[in-house]
Structure formats: structure tokens, C-alpha cells
């Protein structure tokens, strides 16, 4: 259950992250634990992405499936500089979650509020952009377009 304050704050952040990601000024990567499961060159199955913002802040977005229903989770995390591994996180100070929201992607009986609906739509966009950024889809599409343009000449 998200509070209305969390939804409003998240919407502001997500909107800006969408803009900066579209501008190419913010880039995303598959989340650390997932990178261990997937090889660095094969992260196509990743469903969790993160980006480091100024200082020790990290934004994370993930797609979770449960009981045939997809939900999107977004969080802003304050992390310990220097990086945490699974081993060190057990002994040292854990990451601090500053903000965390979770919304259903397409709830069976609709959204509770207009703000929740807006947040869900924004998170769908951000997840798609984060995935494209992490998988470097833009570059591949451009490469394919350039190749096809060359064939036309």
C-alpha cells in the first residue's frame, strides 16, 4: 500500500528520470544480483534495473510477476559508497531505502486513485526505457537502420 505522499514524490522523480533517460543523460544497468545470475553479455532476461544518481543515491525499477499479475516497483536507495556485495551487506550497514512504491501494471478491477494510475503508466514507460538503456537496444536499432539504409543505395 503506497501513501499519497510517496506516490506524488515518486511521480516527480519518475517523470524526470524518463526525460533524462530519453535525453541519453542517464543510463541504466541490470541490477547487481541479476548480473551475477546472467552473464554480462546476456542480460536479456533481466527484469530489474538500476541507475546511480549523484553521490550515493541509486534509483531502481523492477517488474515482478505474481499470480498472473505483473507489478512494477520503484525505489530510491541511499547506498554505502564503494559498493556492497552479498557478503559485505551481511556485515556492514545495509542500503537505506529512501522511497519505495509498488503498483500493479494492469489491475483486474482498476486503480484506486488517479495518481496511482498515472504512476503505473509512468513506471511502465520508465521500465521500458531502463531496459532499452541496459540492453543498449537503441544502438542496435540504429545499427540495423544504418545497414538497411546502406542496402537501399
Amino acid at each position: 500500500m503506497n501513501s499519497s505522499i510517496e506516490i506524488i514524490d515518486s511521480l516527480k522523480l519518475v517523470d524526470k528520470l524518463i526525460d533524462r533517460t530519453r535525453d541519453g543523460k542517464v543510463s541504466w544497468e541490470a541490477s547487481e544480483i541479476l548480473q551475477m545470475a546472467f552473464t554480462p553479455t546476456d542480460i536479456s532476461g533481466a527484469t530489474s534495473f538500476s541507475t546511480t544518481l549523484e553521490g550515493n543515491l541509486r534509483a531502481e525499477i523492477s517488474l515482478n510477476s505474481r499470480n498472473k499479475e505483473d507489478s512494477l516497483a520503484f525505489s530510491l536507495v541511499e547506498f554505502v559508497p564503494g559498493g556492497t556485495t552479498l557478503l559485505t551487506s551481511m556485515t556492514s550497514k545495509p542500503d537505506k531505502e529512501i522511497l519505495s512504491v509498488s503498483v500493479d501494471k494492469d489491475p483486474s478491477f482498476g486503480f484506486d486513485t488517479q495518481a496511482e494510475r498515472e504512476l503505473s503508466k509512468a513506471l511502465v514507460d520508465l521500465y521500458s526505457l531502463a531496459r532499452r538503456s541496459a540492453l543498449k537496444i537503441e544502438g542496435s536499432v540504429q545499427k540495423a537502420l544504418t545497414y538497411l539504409d546502406k542496402l537501399a543505395v
Partner: protein
């Protein structure tokens, strides 16, 4: 002098029309709220056919009312969300029937109550504004 009187009379007539339209809007949304109450009752007794029919009728009437009464509706009440949620309720009931899981059934009932509450809120808000303007 006659021109000033005519202008005043026209303004009074326009105001009277506006008050009538506002009262009609409050009544219309009160009727829609009663329809939403029927939807709640149909869902509570798990009557699929009646619930789907009630949801579809409400979508139809709400879409007409939202454009027809747009200028009299209070700010902050979103009819779009109610229409979207009613469509989802209708589609879900038609394709999958009533949910078996108690949690999902509670969610469906909560949603229907929420739609009823929204329509009551719109009617009450317009009614209050009409009474405020009359004083």
C-alpha cells in the same frame, strides 16, 4: 435606463438557467449513484448477469453525463477513472466470472463501493454548490 434593466434581466435569466442545470446535474448523478448501488448489490449476491448489465449501463450513462454535464461537474472528481474501472469490472466478470479468492472478491466489492461513493460525492458537491449560490 431601459438598456441597463434589459441587461440585468438577461443576466438574471442566465443565472436561473444555470441553477436549473446544476440541480439537474445533482439529480442525474444521484440517479447514477442509485444505479451504482444496484451494481454493489448484484456483486454482493454474485449475480453475474445483473452485475455485468449494471456495469455496462453505468459506463454508457456516465459517458453521456460526463460530456453533457462537463461544465457543472466539481473539480477533483475524476469520472474517467470510474468509467475505466467499470469497464474493467464488466470485462473481468464477463471473461472470468466472480473471483474465487476472498481477497480478490473483497477488492471487487471495494471497487464497486468506491464508484458508488464517487457518484454520491459528485451529486452532493453539485447540490451544495447550488444551495450556496441560492443563498
Amino acid at each position: 435606463m431601459a438598456w441597463v434593466q434589459a441587461k440585468g434581466a438577461r443576466k438574471a435569466a442566465e443565472e436561473a438557467v444555470r441553477m436549473v442545470r446544476m440541480r439537474e446535474t445533482a439529480d442525474e448523478f444521484l440517479r447514477l449513484a442509485a444505479d451504482a448501488n444496484n451494481l454493489v448489490a448484484s456483486v454482493q449476491v454474485r449475480n453475474t448477469e445483473r452485475a455485468i448489465e449494471a456495469a455496462n449501463n453505468l459506463v454508457h450513462l456516465l459517458m453521456i453525463a460526463s460530456s453533457h454535464r462537463a461544465s457543472y461537474l466539481p473539480e477533483g472528481f475524476s469520472l474517467d477513472l470510474s468509467v475505466e474501472n467499470l469497464r474493467k469490472v464488466s470485462t473481468m466478470l464477463a471473461s472470468e466470472g466472480f473471483p474465487e479468492a476472498p481477497q480478490k472478491m473483497a477488492k471487487l466489492l471495494h471497487r464497486c463501493h468506491q464508484i458508488h461513493e464517487s457518484l454520491c460525492g459528485i451529486s452532493g458537491s453539485v447540490q451544495n454548490r447550488t444551495e450556496g449560490d441560492e443563498q
